[in-house]
């Protein structure tokens, strides 16, 4: 297959285009100028995931920027999916940053609205919200495919981008959720990662709607999963994280085992079961493992799920 057929030619794009079940991970950059954090996390995940999301001031808390951290991950042998929120940058900055990221070799980009400032450590900040995530996807697509800036001006060299987006199948209004994905597909998204799934029946229902309008053929859907370290994490997600749907059975199951290593083992087991169940759903192209501050669990889960070795693509 010649490279010209690819939009960006990233590892992730190749794996997904070849119809292989993709596995992505997630790394939060540090809240200081500590250069070792991403290096360490990259070492843990390398060889176990196909690419890793590098979050962008996640939950509106200031961290090392996603471009620098993404570059660092790539320098450590792990392909980056650079996240970009509309909260912190206007259209000038978002275009400038993507050109810069592209020059540095970052190919996967995830377009997000971003959590509101009120959640983070600078609640007094002015939110930018010049564009929304759908505008952002379209802007990057036009840069890549039309060599045009958002204003319509031409550019000489287009950035090579594999454009991603996120969707929350558990957000409301539920009946609009699949339609919202359709808008993102129309705007130009190539792949999509979902919010953490705990409620599989509801996710299946959402996938039915997605398939009913044929979206699974137009966009690569990666199901988001968060392995639970214990019952505390389950309860926290259930009660405090906006847009999260954690069924009581899962909380109960995590509560039924002893804290510490037994609970962690149960969490991993649960994650593996969920991966297996989700992989059977028509239209799911991969999983996105968000082991927040528990990256060490990922290699084992991926192995137990029978997803090793990760495919090598040319």
């Amino acid at each position: 297959m010649s490279a010209t057929q690819y939009k960006a030619g990233s590892n992730l794009e190749k794996i997904l285009s070849e119809g292989k079940f993709a596995v992505t991970g997630e790394c939060g950059p540090p809240k200081s100028a500590d250069g070792t954090v991403i290096e360490e996390k990259a070492k843990i995940l390398k060889g176990f995931v196909d690419a890793v999301n590098i979050t962008d001031n996640q939950t509106a808390v200031v961290r090392v920027c996603s471009m620098a951290s993404g570059l660092q991950a790539q320098q450590n042998g792990l392909e980056a999916i650079m996240q970009m929120t509309c909260r912190d940058r206007n259209r000038l900055a978002m275009q400038a940053d993507i050109l810069g990221a592209s020059i540095l070799g970052i190919k996967n980009i995830l377009c997000l609205t971003g959590d509101h400032m009120s959640f983070g450590n600078h609640p007094e900040a002015k939110g930018v919200h010049d564009l929304d995530a759908i505008n952002l996807i379209k802007m990057y697509k036009d840069m890549r495919d039309e060599k045009k800036f958002q204003c319509g001006d031409d550019m000489d060299v287009a950035p090579a981008l594999y454009i991603g987006c996120a969707e929350n199948p558990f957000g409301d209004p539920f009946e609009f959720r699949a339609l919202r994905l359709k808008k993102k597909v129309e705007a130009g998204a190539d792949f999509m990662q979902t919010q953490c799934i705990f409620n599989i029946p509801k996710f299946k229902k959402w996938m039915e709607e997605v398939r009913a309008i044929g979206l699974h053929k137009e966009i690569k859907i990666l199901a988001g999963l968060t392995p639970l370290k214990g019952v505390g994490a389950a309860k926290y997600m259930k009660n405090f994280v906006p847009g999260m749907d954690v069924p009581q059975e899962i909380v109960d199951r995590m509560a039924s085992v002893e804290k510490g290593p037994p609970a962690q083992a149960e969490g991993k087991k649960l994650a593996v079961e969920m991966i297996k169940e989700i992989a059977e759903i028509e239209g799911v192209a991969g999983v996105h493992l968000m082991a927040v501050e528990w990256e060490v669990a990922v290699p084992e889960i991926v192995e137990m799920a029978g997803l090793l070795p990760r495919p090598a693509v040319a």
Partner: protein, 227 residues
Amino acid sequence: MITAERKPFDEIYAMTEGHDKVLVAGCDTCVAVCLTGGEKEAEILAAELRIKAKEDGRDVQIEHTAAIRQCEWEYLDAIAAKVEEYPAVLSMACGIGIQSMAEKFAPKLVLPAVNTNMLGMPQEHAVWLERCGACGECVIGDTAGICPVVRCSKSLMNGPCGGSHDGKCEVTTPEKGDIDCAWALIWDRLKAQGREELMLVNRPPKNWSKSSSGGPRKMVREEAKPV
């Protein structure tokens, strides 16, 4: 209407320091309707300031007045004589009224006693809700008469973010309590209107140059100018 809230007393009191004559000037239009800066409230603030100054042993003359509308110079004529007597004025009008006073009586010191906060709608007696951000290019014809610019916490133009839950916005603060998700409201009302296909349209980036991002705005109606 324009709504405003009185500044904390200590902040206002600090502004009076160093002055021996201060006039508290209310405005009897929007800020009176929102019970913040009308003549009644001007009198209350003046009384508070006098009591506090007296407690502190300060010899300061504090009186109050009110204009029908501080934002229009012709209404300021009615209080001009009184204003002239005072070297410092604490205006309780909205930001427009305060500036109109400051300009008309320049270089007199005109200080803000309120924080102007929104273009709001009275929901019930003594409760106001933000309704418009004066963005300069109204889109609510396509959003069922619900403003996504100020009623969506992220000014989204293409439907709800992932944080919309049970009709509520992901932004919930102890002070504000639950906020309705604008896009949940838009979706429901568009459906009731049989126009939900409008939600499927991909709207391009908004032209913010028509808003305050484009610099201070000016409106001229040539045809209405006096001959």
